[in-house]
């Protein structure tokens, strides 16, 4: 099942994705005492801070080398070093991510050299700088995210003794999801390094006094030792190998890689739990088994309502895969599966589910919302699952939207949305089922009227 050729036209009308450096900022926000600088026009940093802040409702400080026209001619090395000087003085970070942008890449800035020189010049031995080449045209934000994680690992992780910890490398999921993963790991008594950990940094408690950099995040010392881990579990099955931090750890340090889907849905969560058990030899505890039982119970209770669901799932490929799989499990058959990224794995990974489904979905790669809307309308979709920009599906086609993923800017609590693990899956399913039910009740009268009283002026009461 190959994706539909999305490039039936050149115009990208109402995009379903953001640019690479946007995604690359996020992992740096999940490392202790880290800052990040964009090497390029100051507008990049401003736009991205604005969008990240709006989603998480949190301060998002991102520096910029503020390149100007002169920089485009003479290079931006001086600006970048100045930016680092200022940031180090004011924020005193332990780590700085330096990301390029369209501008820096187009003029060919060598940030690895510049930052290496910088550290030497300034004699900053305790500071880590992680450079990553993330031009806006090099991919979309999901690719930027993984590339940044890989760069972090490539830069920090070194030879080390083996130890019993498990590396958990995660994609762009909500802080609540991260906390839930940590709770599950704790229940399973697994010693782990989770990278990146935004659970406190991008959902930080109100606390006095305000600190410029939020507490929390993955410890740098832990990242340095990831090469000695017992195994890596990476939730990045849709990602290309060259973007895969887990693949790097496997190839460079021989850490066994288990590349798994995000644990949303029964199968995906089973796989996560079973893989953990397999690695550590520890059984699934009763508490988790009960959570699984409760999820199954919830799925049974809702299965008739869910089976009436015809869904479109869109957003970042990794999340889209896990959610689409969950939809298949529950008979909320996806008819449109769309990602803004170039990604040929998504469709292939869903092959087995698609084969068993009563109707074949359209898989859209490099999709924009105009395509998503057209295909959803054609397929008779009645529920959309994805980030806030899908609200146009509601406004134009009356398809209700279950908000999930990034960004959520027209509702509160995107950072608190819980969807992973057995309990999180049940919560996600309840949101979907209740959206279907709400829509059903809302349209009941008009549906019945259309069916039985088309030609009369009679009104129908007594719905439900």
């Amino acid at each position: 099942m190959g994706p539909e050729n999305s490039n039936y036209r050149n115009l990208n009308e109402n995009p379903c994705s953001m640019c690479m450096p946007m995604g690359a900022i996020l992992p740096f926000k999940g490392i202790e005492e880290a800052m990040v600088v964009l090497h390029g026009s100051q507008g990049c940093s401003t736009y991205m801070r604005r969008h990240i802040a709006e989603h998480f409702n949190e301060p998002v400080d991102v520096g910029s080398s503020a390149l100007n026209e002169k920089g485009t001619v003479y290079g931006g090395e001086g600006n970048l070093k100045k930016a680092l000087d200022n940031i180090i003085k004011v924020y005193q970070p332990k780590l700085i991510g330096v990301l390029t942008t369209c501008l820096a890449e187009t003029i060919g800035e060598d940030i690895r050299r510049i930052t290496t020189d910088y550290l030497a010049e300034r004699g900053l031995e305790d500071l880590a700088i992680v450079p990553a080449a993330t031009p806006g045209y090099g991919g979309n934000h999901p690719e930027g995210y993984f590339l940044a994680v890989r760069s972090i690992v490539e830069t920090l992780t070194g030879e080390t003794g083996t130890h019993a910890k498990v590396n958990i490398i995660i994609p762009n999921i909500s802080p609540a999801d991260v906390r839930e993963l940590k709770r599950i790991l704790q229940l399973m008594e697994v010693d782990y390094v989770l990278l990146p950990d935004i659970s406190d940094t991008l959902d930080r408690p109100y606390e006095k006094p305000y600190t410029k950099i939020a507490k929390g995040g993955t410890k740098i010392a832990d990242i340095k030792a990831m090469g000695g881990a017992a195994a890596t579990i990476q939730m990045g099955i849709t990602m290309a190998d060259e973007l895969s931090p887990g693949k790097y750890l496997a190839e460079r340090f021989g850490v066994p890689l288990f590349n798994l889907p995000i644990p949303i849905g029964v199968d995906n969560t089973d796989l996560f739990i079973n893989t953990l058990s397999n690695i550590t030899g520890k059984p699934c505890p009763d508490g988790l088994k009960h959570e699984r039982g409760r999820l199954l119970d919830a799925m049974i209770d809702s299965h008739k309502y869910n089976f009436q669901g015809r869904s479109v799932v869109f957003g970042e490929p990794e999340l889209v895969y896990a959610v689409a799989k969950t939809c298949f499990e529950n008979g909320i058959f996806p008819l449109v599966v769309a990602s803004g990224s170039k990604n040929d794995r998504l469709g292939k990974l869903l092959e087995r589910e698609i084969e068993l489904a009563p109707e074949k979905p359209v898989i859209l790669n490099e999709a924009d919302f105009t395509q998503i809307r057209e295909k959803s309308k054609a397929a008779g979709v009645n529920v959309a699952i994805g980030h806030s920009d899908g609200r146009y599906l509601t406004e134009k086609e009356g398809i209700p939207l279950v908000r999930l993923g990034f960004p959520i800017h027209d509702r509160v609590g995107g950072q608190r949305l819980l969807s992973v693990g057995y309990t999180g899956t049940a919560m996600l399913l309840d949101r979907i089922t209740n959206t279907l039910l709400e829509n059903k009740y809302k349209t009941y009268r008009s549906v019945m009227k259309e069916k039985y009283f088309r030609d009369s002026k009679q009104r129908i009461a007594g719905a439900k």
Partner: protein
């Protein structure tokens, strides 16, 4: 999978001996080879402590029969609970021509307090009627009694009469206290008597306003069933005088006497009225069944046969052909999914019987069936009625005796034509459920949770059609359940469209991938089996 007598005995052996003895009479393993037809005990007292699915007389009267009449205000006289519990729960749909005269979404109660119990509730009831009249101005009012009302001696009839005098509308009092009779069946009887005595025949019409005038009895328009039936009947050319009582109107009900024929869908809840209408107005009744495609077709042909008009017959066939053409291929798709599966079919009314045919059309065999509140005739056919011994509880429900209406009785058929038709169509007849069931299948009266579980273990059905009270027992046992009380908020299931919708909903249960997950992997499977292939192990 059939049931042996031995297995049945083992199930019942878990009961205390008295209970065992009692329940044994309520369960049959169908055997058509017995010398005399098998007898089942029904409509007897519920055994205390059995988790029965039965309701009470109030439920049958207010909840089932009277409640759906949309242009009346129905007042529950009693503490707040009983009114609340019948509020919207039956999913009787009603459309509104006059939005000010549709009270189907409302719930009215006197909300009796302790002091009302001590000092009597008549005064409060009178005031509540005053409130209702000043706010809603309904065409008529009903009052339904709950348990304490009879015990404290409130005279509903007297209150109703006074209100009738004061407001000049009908106020019907139903003494349907919950403890009366043995199930909701008593309530149907009480409701039927009241409607017959006080409403039907009070209308001004002397003749039906159109040809082929019929009443549709025992159709409660759950999930819109009645609408689908009416759609087809109207297309053929019938004039429906009144539906009792789904989407029903008090104003129409008053003229029920003018119909040429009464169709009886739910035999149990309404046969009293059908009988009395025949005696009083000379209108024959025909047992119909709009559940299932073939049943609907047979029913439509039977009605046409009754009227004996060639054009009507032709139109009937044309409509049948058109509807079939529209749905058949879709049904075939669904049938592929259902074929070879088995079901339990346990509901109230006549549905425990009716739905077996629809299941069969989908390729699903019913291996156990029964009724919540049936009488023996619902199982064995009306021919056993003379043999039924009434117990004290049933005797306590006052019987209504009607006579020919001196002015409005009109013989619709000559006795000869009647007898001739009777051979072809179920005119005034109902053969019951049992005759249609296969040998080895189980017939259970008043099935309870314990027996449900036990029968499931033995018969391992693929689906259970029942209600919400046992729905979750069934699903916790890993078996899909189809609610046939409220249709799980789906429907309609009657007629052609309904058969399709039912097929779709049943297939949903079989096709939903959800059921693939009901065994946790750590119980039956080694860790990682079947899933490790997904993990990309790099050593």
């Amino acid at each position: 999978m059939a049931m042996t007598e031995k297995q049945l005995e083992e199930i019942l052996a878990q009961y205390p001996s008295k209970t065992q003895k009692n329940r044994k009479k309520h369960v049959l393993v169908k055997d058509s080879t017995t010398e005399n037809p098998q007898v089942i005990e029904a409509n007897t007292r519920t055994i205390p402590g059995i988790i029965t699915n039965r309701g009470c007389a109030y439920a049958g009267c207010k909840g089932v029969v009277v409640g759906p009449i949309k242009d009346m205000v129905h007042i529950t006289h009693g503490p707040v609970g009983c009114a609340y519990y019948t509020w919207g729960t039956r999913r009787n749909k009603a459309k509104t021509e006059d939005p000010d005269k549709n009270f189907i979404n409302y719930c009215f109660t006197t909300d009796m307090q302790e002091s009302d119990i001590v000092f009597g509730g008549e005064k409060k009831l009178t005031k509540v009627i005053d409130d209702v009249m000043s706010i809603f101005k309904p065409n008529a009012i009903s009052i339904a009694a709950t348990c304490p009302v009879g015990l404290i001696g409130d005279d509903l009839g007297a209150v109703a009469r006074k209100a009738e005098e004061k407001y000049g509308i009908q106020v019907l009092a139903f003494n349907c206290e919950g403890y009366k009779g043995v199930s909701q069946s008593a309530g149907h009887h009480i409701a039927n008597n009241g409607l017959m005595q006080h409403v039907i025949g009070k209308g001004a019409l002397e003749e039906a306003p159109a040809k082929y005038a019929i009443n549709l009895l025992g159709e409660y328009n759950i999930g819109g069933d009645g609408w689908e039936v009416e759609r087809v009947l109207k297309e053929i050319g019938y004039h429906i005088v009144t539906v009792m009582t789904g989407d029903g109107k008090y104003e129409d009900l008053k003229n029920a006497h003018v119909a040429e024929l009464n169709l009886v869908q739910c035999h149990r809840s309404i046969n009293y009225i059908a009988e009395m209408l025949e005696i009083k107005y000379g209108t024959p009744w025909l047992k119909v069944n709009f559940v299932g495609v073939q049943a609907t077709i047979d029913t439509l042909r039977n009605i046409a046969e009754y009227f004996g008009d060639e054009a009507l017959t032709e139109k009937t066939e044309a409509v049948i052909a058109k509807e079939l053409a529209r749905i058949e291929s879709k049904l075939d798709q669904y049938k592929k999914i259902c074929e070879g599966k088995t079901a339990f079919c346990f509901v109230g009314g006549s549905r425990g019987h009716h739905y077996q045919g629809l299941f069969r059309e989908l390729g699903i065999e019913t291996v156990l069936a029964g009724y919540e509140f049936a009488h023996r005739d619902d199982y064995e056919g009306r021919q056993v009625i003379p043999d039924i011994k009434l117990d004290a509880d049933t005797k306590n429900i006052p019987d209504l005796t009607v006579e020919k209406d001196p002015e409005r009785f009109k013989l619709k058929l000559s006795p000869e034509r009647y007898e001739e038709l009777k051979k072809k169509i179920p005119l005034g007849q109902y053969c019951g459920m049992n005759v249609e069931m296969k040998d080895g299948t189980v017939i259970v009266d008043d099935l309870n949770h314990y027996e449900t579980e036990e029968f499931i273990k033995i018969l391992k059905p693929d689906i259970l059609a029942s209600g919400i009270k046992d729905k979750y027992v069934i699903q916790k046992m890993g078996i899909p359940s189809k609610q046939l009380h409220s249709y799980d908020y789906s429907g309609p299931y009657a007629g052609f469209n309904g058969a399709l919708k039912f097929a779709e909903d049943i297939c949903m249960s079989f096709s939903s991938p959800t059921w693939n997950f009901i065994t946790p992997p750590w119980k039956d499977e080694p860790l990682l089996t079947g899933t490790v292939a997904d993990a990309e192990g790099v050593a």
